[in-house]
Amino acid sequence: MNQPAALGTVHDEGARSLLYTEVEEELRTAVRALLADRCPPSSVLRRAETAEVHDLDLWKTLSREIGVAGLLVPEEYGGAGASAREAAVVLEELGRGVTPAPFFTSSVLATRTLLDLGERDLLRELAAGEKTAALAVPFAATPYRAAGVPLEIGDGTVTGRVAGVAGADVADVLLVPSADGAVFAVEARHAAVTTQPSLDLTRPIATVSLASAPARNLGACDLGAVLRFGAGLLASEQLGVAEWCLDTTLSHVRERRQFARPIGSFQALKHRLADLWLDVVRARAAARNACAGAPLAVAVAQAWNAGVAVHVAEEALQLHGGIGMTWEHPLHLYLKRAKATEIALGTPGDHRAALASLADLPG
């Protein structure tokens, strides 16, 4: 048939751009080159079961030389004063590398909390790469439900326990939000941080126990907004994970021969890969759109990208055949990361549920 039905009407979008700027592309190039040199997936795999999952040498270079730790920090506090768009590009690359670096936990979640609280000194230290911080909430907390920790508040101390915290294992400072909205800063040396076996080998979670730990009350912050901001940027990390899985699978099926043909010449696989590519194309648009942090854009990006990352990783494993089931191939690190971030900061279902009010689709 020659003429398709009309599928919608033209509408002007205004000025917000979904493209990458030149500055963003330069940042991407720098991060990608460093990771390729210092932390390829094979070396991530080697670290994964050691006591030092996080590559802190790499983090030093990333945070100080490339300056990613201070991207979101205003220039007056020693940061780059960049926007979430640049942080998103860094996250795409860190996702592509399943890089064990505390960028998301310290430079996004904790930094965003401190920005809300106006904590200049700590921001300055984080931006300089001198310290890292972690927001002590369960990584599986959602922006749509209260996530504060039940704390017993003493005289300059706090007592309590929170499980499933990401980034706590390498944090110097823990930011502990109480159930009533106040955030307490606790030096990590005053807390018991116990890493637990984690589904995601490259971003382990830990239990933080505070027993009358000296703590400084930093005031109140909108924890839901912080988590939403994080969820929006997590969509870019998920995009990076999906991109690596798709690219790696494309290379594999072009090379791997069965039945005297590259398996990538089999039409059933080609069609599945075309569909995956289309999912990733849309994940890219969704991730770019969510950078600004608008609630609806964040919900859409998480509802889409979390599932795309898992789906692409799962298909990547299937299309690698037995090879993908082996520990020695790094693919499983991506599958685990994808599945863990699907659960982190709200499941796709949680974000879709939020659309009931955000998009006026009441249940």
Partner: protein, 378 residues
Amino acid sequence: MRDRIDRLLATAGAEDFLGARFDAGLAWVHFPEGLGGLGAPRELQQVVDRELAHTPQPNIGRQAIGLGMAAPTILAFGTPEQQKRFLRPLYTGEEIWCQLFSEPGAGSDLATLATRAVRDGDEWIVDGQKVWTSGAHHARWAILVARTDPDVPKHRGLTYFACDMHAPGVEVRPLRQITGEAEFNEVFLTGVRLGDDLRLGEIGDGWRVAQTTLMNERVAIGGTPGRQGGGMIGIVSDTWRAQPALRTPELHQRLLKLWVEAEVTRLSAVRLREQLAAGQPGPEGSGMKLSFAKLNQELTGLDLELRRDLGYDDWSFRRSDEVDMLGRGPGYRYLRAKGNSIEGGTSEILRNIIAERVLGLPSEPRADKDVPWKDLPR
């Protein structure tokens, strides 16, 4: 350009406004001067379109093939005489165009088409049958691909023509669809004589010329992002909002899921348009039609289920000049949307194209590439 727009607005009357617009070079600014354009960058067209939004417009329904497919092909491959002859009446709507490509035996495998064109002095004699031709019953001209050499492999023996739809031997028959109406036609060509001056491009180069046409078709289909929550998802959402009694938790989940898919698909179209405007055309365009077809089909199916509507608006057999997906009833939309993944390249063909041209996957073993067309199994 601003001047030209102002001058056009100041001087042109309503009755031949489109002719005046063409003559002012504001029809398609990237076309050369004298052919409806100014040789300006393509991005500027958006500005012109915005400025002239409230003036008389081409009839998108009837002129879709002419504007979207014939015009760029004539520009790329036509002789100066052909360009002069065809482009202005095509733009003004004085002459409607249709497309004679698909055949009963050549759908996805267009290059296998069997309509013959045999040289006879300065003319070609065309015999064959075409199908799925929208607007053939209004058309003055058609873009036509025919086989001029059956002795070479199928892609190499084709030639591209402008076909005179008023020529003797052209017969148009309505083709009824599952919606009840006849939006398309079958076209029978019997001893149709076309002058060699109606040939577009070289003899045997028809496949390459047709690629230009088809590329423009697919870009046209996917290239127009709607507004957030608009189009088909808007129709379903409106029903959802207006009729709380229809809601169930199950339908709610499906609606939310499709709303997300519609939105990310729309965002991709927005991003694609930004890429084009920035002069960075990406491969993403190949996927837009695929996504829209799937979405439209799922949404129209959900719409019917949500309404629990077992009725239909009108089965009567009639011609339809334009497709108005959204203006008809839910049953019509459901059925008509089924064509979205077939017309203008099936979703299967589009997936092949993405896999091979975008993702660089190896092609399948093929038995039909180097065999003379006449020796192919059929």
